[in-house]
Symmetry: C2
Subunit: 292 residues, 2 copies
DNA sequence: TTTTTGTCTTTTATCCACAATAGACAGTTT
DNA sequence: AAACTGTCTATTGTGGATAAAAGACAAAAA
């Protein structure tokens, strides 16, 4: 097989949800914009919906005939893009058993393991190498540098430099900048989650990412913003395997965020620096604790 | 053709130079270590040398029969790795005419233009994307973000943060650290070039890279060191197309480096910061001048 | 005139094949 | 015993083929 049709399957599933809301579907270009795919894909979706007798389609008229049943959807597993699959598979491998630093990584073996071609694995490794966890020996294998204590320290060192700088420029944003509105919404969510922390503490991870990304974005520096990808992926997988005391850790981090947000609102650079440093320090400690 | 044999050709050329120095070549593993290639490649080289009647080869004995002639060498153009060729070709394209920011980049067109397969171009673009000059739209084209004023400002902002931090940690290196010896050699080269600046000012670019890389390396932070790749490539191509007042600019930069080096030796953090900032400021100005 | 659709072309994502290169192992030489 | 060579296998780098997806353009409809 050449290209996977995950874009089609995923968009088809999302389009099924739209059927519940209206009696007729809009025009092809409009659907394309809504779902974020091209007209070619939209037409493939409409064709399949017609085959499944979900709609009656004739040129501009697309009448909904019946509501979708569970079996109309494609299995969620089939809608993941290949690179996501490779990423998950790879991370499981290096975070799970026996991933010693210095270990060799074999493109062919990885590809066979995941059940995919070598090209995709290779491209993934090239993209992934910017995270500093692996390194290429040309004409030869890749080397796993490992999720070590040094890695975590180097990562947090840069993170702290970047975030302090970003936080300082956040304070200087004009009062009508949209970031302040985003900050309002994020703060509100903090209060909501804290109010029901026992049930909702798992939502912290995503909120944390949203908040810090907002801060980093205000630096208006592509290198700083791009670097946040590394933080995101590290913390994302970190949260998946370090679940000890998650409730308490997250509650404390939420409180720190609120301090930090209040400092940003105060407009006082010194106060921002103190709150930012305090939070970053405890984030670093959490990360370090999970290593070894 | 599948894989290019540039490794073989390049190692063959380098091996020809060894012939001038000895009457007999060493063992295969030893040659491999010297040239940095595997025994397979060494044996291919020896086979060809035998065919060309350059050596008499029988097991361990490899007697030099004659000195290599110019026509024994492979053309230098054939020893460049494919990714180097693609890089040069791409940079010429985006720095030369009509490379407007926002322009689309087409893998297929690039590949046809360079005379190579799409896979190699694609991999190059993925690797290159970490420099922040291009951006991928999945399932669609790449976008050229362009070598703009913003790019230069964002780049230098991060560079300054990283270099100030690195310079501070350089000062703290123990007196027996090898970096001090490297610094001695680099300083000596500065004096040599300055003494004959009219003829040797072109050597600055390479020396500049060596010096700053040494400073960055002392941070012991892979993200800081890796970031220097971006600086390197930007300045490398920058020097190629901005040759106005090169002699004066380089002379001034060399003087600034000497100040900076003296500050590093003084062990005085405040002095280091002043010298480092002064040099980075003028480096930034030089870069900005060359844009538009 | 503006938007939509039908049709067609171009480009990307992915697998596969094959030469170049690396690397492993056993037998041979020093 | 240690190092080297002969031989063989495994892996990487690269071009080519093909389905999926994007997108261009003219004709049709609003």
């Amino acid at each position: 097989m050449a290209k996977q049709n995950t874009v089609f399957k995923d968009a088809f599933n999302r389009c099924l949800k739209l059927l519940a809301e209206t009696a007729t579907l809009p025009s092809e270009p409009e659907l394309g914009t809504t779902l974020g795919v091209s007209r070619t894909t939209i037409r493939a979706i409409l064709t399949r919906m017609e085959e499944l007798q979900l709609i009656a389609w004739d040129k501009r008229t697309k009448v909904v005939l019946r509501q979708p049943k569970p079996e109309d959807y494609f299995p969620v597993a089939e809608t993941d893009s290949l690179s996501d699959i490779i990423e998950r598979s790879f991370m499981r491998r290096i975070l799970a058993g026996g991933a010693e630093p210095g270990m060799q990584i074999n493109e062919l073996e990885l590809a066979r393991d995941i059940g995919t071609g070598t090209t995709s694995v290779r491209e993934f490794l090239i993209r992934f190498s910017r995270f500093g966890l692996i390194e290429k020996r040309p004409n030869s294998h890749w080397i796993l540098k490992g999720f070590t204590r040094e890695f975590a320290l180097e990562l947090t060192e840069v993170r702290e430099m970047f975030e302090l700088r970003s936080a300082a420029s956040f304070v200087a944003l004009p009062p009508d900048h949209p970031a302040w509105g985003d900050l309002d919404r994020i703060e509100a969510l903090h209060h909501e989650i804290l109010a029901d922390i026992d049930n909702r503490y798992k939502e912290f991870s995503e909120l944390d990412e949203r908040f810090h990304l907002l801060v980093h974005t205000s630096s208006s520096n592509r290198f700083i913003v791009d670097f946040y990808d590394i933080i995101t992926i590290v913390f994302h997988y970190h949260y998946q395997w370090n679940k000890a005391n998650a409730r308490e850790r997250n509650a404390r981090a939420l409180e720190e965020h609120l301090d930090y947000i209040a400092a940003l609102r105060s407009g006082d650079p010194a106060r921002v620096e103190i709150a930012c440093r305090a939070h970053l320090k405890s984030a670093r400690e959490t990360l370090l604790q999970s290593i070894q």
